[in-house]
Subunit: 110 residues, 2 copies
DNA sequence: TATAGTTACCACGACAGACGTAGTACGACA
DNA sequence: TGTCGTACTACGTCTGTCGTGGTAACTATA
């Protein structure tokens, strides 16, 4: 079976992550599992890709982080929440996707 | 209007170019114009992107070049021809596109 | 008791495709 | 004379992805 290459997905990791934050905050490990489940194991995001996307998107103001320090065993977990700016960015990217898809499909045979 | 970003198209320039070589050899300037026309001005490939794609794909064995030295005014023009390996690569990338599109659309709202 | 697996991250550096800037050179046209 | 179109090329920068490796606590299995 064909596999999804990083060059192909590049630029979409941001909107995949933002989609999963639309309804409620979440954290890295959970998002990673959701991507895997929702894509039916077709796309498994690399941990480094995911966490560097968090850092970048927080810097860009698309998401905000907060830490849950009260987990069992004294563990911490960093949650991310989408901002209004992030929602705008997500919407714009969805429109861009529609346009891009139309363009690319002109060059796809069959 | 939304514009196509480089990150989004990244990884597809190769198949866009290969598509335009499927039926006959062509050269940089012509391919650049064809992309623009076929996409109805929605995607205008950068010259540096196009010519570096030629170099890379020739190195990978997807295309072969030959020079037409008999143009008016003593000018030269470098043509590119798709190889059987390039055709296989193109086909594989089209399949990958179908899969990728399905995955991404699970994360697109509306 | 040992050890492998799951959860939940982070740091560092490398890589490759896309792009910005700039330059070459010829012909046509105003 | 100067701009536009044709047809490239060189050089360096940027950025998202990924490989490698590390930390640390709990949980199931042998």
């Amino acid at each position: 079976m064909a596999e999804i290459s990083s060059d192909v997905i590049r630029g979409y990791n941001d909107i995949i992550i933002l989609f999963l934050l639309l309804n409620s905050p979440s954290y890295g490990y959970e998002i990673s599992k959701q991507i895997r489940t929702m894509s039916e194991d077709k796309y498994i995001i690399k941990e480094t890709t995911l966490y560097s996307a968090f850092t970048r998107m927080e810097k860009n103001g698309f998401i905000e982080s907060f830490v849950d320090e009260d987990l069992a065993g004294g563990k911490k977990r960093t949650y991310y929440r989408i901002t209004p700016v992030g929602r705008d960015y997500y919407r714009a990217k969805c429109e861009e996707w529609t346009l891009t898809k139309e363009v690319i499909e002109k060059f796809i045979a069959g």
